[in-house]
């Protein structure tokens, strides 16, 4: 992927103002529409990447320190959380599958109570994930500071756990939306 910061003409920073990303995206989008030539898909992709702090960190590291390979294993500090998430997601999936297979209003109604319980469980998980994620996000300013001395170790070490947290958050959100739609 080409540098998303450059695509939107934004500074290579982890602390971009969401409003600045939107304004820049609009300007570029407008220009590419007017010229009927520019590739709007690059602008859209860049906006999507930079608007999410974790993909922004990944893009930032790719631009600033391309040689550093992120750690793909689950860090020990997240193992407890991981051990809680798996069973809840599995239970929710089984419940959603039963709901999908139910062909009558009555069979679906019988699952309502379980769906409410599952919603509460998934919401509780999200509430556990968010503060953990926030502790990493709060360190973005420090990552920028260290980068001034070409030190990317802490930022690279944070990317792995953040990717897991993002994935779990998305999985929980997806289940929550699916439960809302039951």
């Amino acid at each position: 992927m080409t540098n998303p910061f450059a695509i939107l003409g934004l500074p290579e920073s982890l602390l971009l103002d969401p409003a600045a990303i939107e304004t820049s995206w609009r300007e570029h989008h407008r220009e590419s529409e007017a010229a009927s030539a520019g590739d709007a898909s690059d602008h859209n992709r860049a906006r999507a990447l930079l608007s999410d702090p974790i993909s922004c960190l990944a893009a930032w590291l790719e631009v600033k320190a391309p040689a550093i390979a992120p750690d793909r294993s689950i860090p020990p500090a997240l193992m407890d959380l991981f051990a809680k998430i798996g069973p809840v997601l599995a239970r929710t999936d089984a419940l959603l599958a039963r709901h999908r297979q139910a062909t009558t209003a009555l069979a679906r109604a019988l699952l309502t109570k379980d769906c409410i319980t599952a919603q509460l469980e998934v919401q509780a998980l999200l509430q556990e994930i968010q503060p953990v994620k926030a502790t990493f996000l709060d360190r973005f300013a420090a990552f920028e500071k260290a980068a001034e001395h070409e030190d990317f170790a802490a930022a690279a070490a944070a990317l792995g756990p953040l990717k897991f947290l993002k994935k779990w958050e998305e999985q929980c959100r997806e289940r929550l939306l699916a439960l809302i739609a039951t």
Partner: protein, 601 residues
């Protein structure tokens, strides 16, 4: 300014329309008879040219097997994708083609594809436009439901090509409706929701206007829910009330037509009498139906839209959209008063009724067409892809490359490697959908990329997905070692199916249709009974004491009837289906009580 005119087309399940921007205003064009709504119906009279629109609709009762309506439901889908119910619902016969695609068998020899049927409708709209504008027309903007997948969009494009039209843009119906609603009526920034309940599909989209951008924030829907389902439910109810027994094809077509008329009338009247003169030989029938009764039948179908609305609203809120201020209704089925009541109840919003629900989409398509040919001021429309796109990875999992609700156009890619030593190629199976297991999603196509065998993790294959403004996908796979590219052509919904499987499907659908159908319907109905009976027992135990005595007795009688048919020696599929439907209906209040009890904790 480009002077060549572009028309806007709403290719609907039940009706289609064509519009254009004239002197800066979008208008819907009428045919030589002054009709603006063209029924999306084509008939093939024996020995004559096909008829389209109102004339075809008239032929429905006389030649149901050769008259094709609601074909949009089958666009871009495979025969294997259809449930038994869907296969047997239309009065015309559906069969699988050699690649597993859906075909309509008009007789033993004549087969037509959904694209060909749609092409007749589009060609008629083209003629209408050419006659009204007195000039040839070859370019169009065509709308599709937001929830149409890649294959369904491609099929729509192919249909237009067959009709001699170049598709300049495929536009999502809710986006078109929001455009037609008129940006001038909205302030500098506004969030609107479009509830589109058409003949065959339902979707709800949340759009946001900000600084001259009209952006779709979230969209959700059901491609198999629409007004046709209400017609069918009402027709079945009428058949039961009149004790009509097994219906012939022409009888079923007539009954459905009368059911649709009754449904439409009940939007403004409290009661209507459905008359079936000389319905069966000399026998005529009539039955009165009240709005209250119809609403009871319609409620389960309308209630299926509620969770979809809540989901789209939740997704929009998650993406930071401001609270929805306006609710726009699109599609003829939104005229049903119950739809409006329910929407108010679920969303706390008073629907905006200023827009003509049948014409909004065509007017929006005309506006977009006008923008493309420079006839109206450009508004920046930013749409999203409604379904996630990805590929199957090791273990049969779906690896999402472009998540749903991503702004389009969009490009994204990932690098994959070989999972085992000595692997010489990689099969790339392109999927669309939201399920975690690959097998539960739509398979759009597949390609095998060869590479030099090497140890595990030595190969590098880059897969790039690009979705254009029409929501149509292009997939590029590259072996990074050689730089060799493979462009995966995804033109078709149908994928190569083993010859044997095709033969089996064909034989199932045609040769053994009559022998087999009873048993298949029986199996499906039995499955439903087996779900319902224990559910009834459990629910009665839990909240049965909250029921009125007559409701309780209606449920036990209906359950008893289901058990009797299940235990009978002969498999009477039609009777079991009817008994299930009666039990399902009798338990509506019980289901509502269960939900209430669940919320009480």
């Amino acid at each position: 300014m480009n002077d060549e005119i572009i028309i806007g087309i709403d290719l609907g399940t039940t009706h289609s329309l064509v519009g254009v921007v004239d002197s800066g205003f979008p208008i819907v064009l009428a045919n030589e008879k002054g009709e603006r709504l063209l029924p999306s119906c084509v008939t093939w009279p024996i020995g004559r040219d096909p008829l389209v629109g109102t004339e075809a609709m008239r032929a429905r009762a006389l030649a149901p097997a050769r008259t094709v309506a609601s074909i949009k439901r089958f666009m871009g889908r495979t025969f294997a994708d259809l449930s038994i119910e869907e296969r047997s619902e239309p009065p015309y016969r559906l069969v699988p083609g050699s690649r597993g695609e859906i075909l309509v068998a008009l007789d033993e020899k004549t087969l037509v594809s959904p694209e060909e049927v749609s092409a007749f409708i589009l060609a008629r709209l083209k003629e209408t436009a050419e006659a009204a504008l007195e000039m040839p027309v070859s370019r169009a903007v065509v709308t599709v439901p937001a929830y149409f997948n890649h294959s369904q969009r491609e099929a729509t494009r192919r249909a237009a090509e067959l009709a001699g039209l170049t598709v300049e843009r495929i536009l999502n119906e809710p986006t078109a409706a929001a455009l037609a609603y008129g940006l001038d009526r909205l302030g500098e920034s506004a969030t609107v929701a479009v509830y589109d309940l058409g003949g065959g599909t339902f979707d709800l989209s949340v759009l946001q206007l900000r600084e001259g951008f009209f952006e779709v924030i979230a969209t959700a829907g059901d491609t198999r829910l629409g007004g046709d389902d209400l017609d069918l439910a009402l027709a079945r109810f009428l058949a039961g009330e009149l004790d009509l027994g097994v219906l012939s094809e022409p009888e079923e077509a007539t009954l459905r037509m009368r059911a649709r008329e009754a449904k439409e009338a009940l939007s403004s009247e409290e009661r209507v009498v459905v008359r079936l003169p000389f319905f069966r030989g000399e026998s005529s029938y009539e039955v009165e139906i009240t709005r209250e009764r119809f609403e009871k039948l319609a409620l389960p179908l309308i209630e299926r839209t509620g969770p979809i609305c809540r989901r789209a609203f939740a997704e929009a809120a998650e993406k930071g959209a401001a609270a929805v201020e306006k609710l726009i209704l699109v599609g003829g089925s939104t005229r049903i008063p119950l739809v409006r009541t329910k929407l108010k109840e679920w969303l706390g919003l008073e629907p905006d009724l200023s827009q003509h629900p049948d014409e909004a989409v065509a007017l929006g398509a005309a506006i977009q067409a006008g923008m493309l040919c420079g006839r109206v001021r450009q508004i920046l429309l930013v749409d999203v892809t409604p379904l996630s796109l990805g590929i199957e990875t090791f273990g049969g999992l779906m690896n999402v490359i472009i998540p749903r609700n991503s702004t389009i156009p969009v490009k994204a890619g990932e690098l994959f490697t070989n999972a085992v030593d000595g692997q010489a190629s990689m099969a790339i199976r392109v999927l669309q959908g939201e399920r975690e297991l690959a097998k539960d999603n739509w398979l759009l196509g597949e390609v095998t990329l060869p590479f030099t065998p090497g140890p595990k993790s030595s190969a590098r294959v880059g897969v790039q997905f690009a979705i254009n403004r029409d929501g149509i996908l292009e997939v590029l796979a590259r072996d990074t070692a050689t730089g060799e590219d493979h462009v995966l052509e995804i033109r078709d919904a149908a994928v190569d199916v083993e010859d044997e499987a095709v033969e089996r499907m064909i034989s199932e659908s045609i040769d053994y249709a009559f022998d087999d159908m009873n048993e298949r319907i029986w199996t499906e109905a039995k499955f439903k009974s087996e779900e319902l009976l224990p559910a009834v027992a459990g629910a009665l135990e839990w909240v049965g004491d909250r029921l009125e005595e007559d409701e309780r007795s209606a449920i036990t009688t209906a359950a008893k009837r289901v058990r009797e048919i299940l235990e009978a020696e002969t498999h009477d599929a039609a009777a079991l289906k009817k008994a299930n439907a009666a039990l399902d209906e009798a338990t509506q209040t019980l289901a509502a009580l269960l939900v209430e009890a669940a919320f009480e904790g």
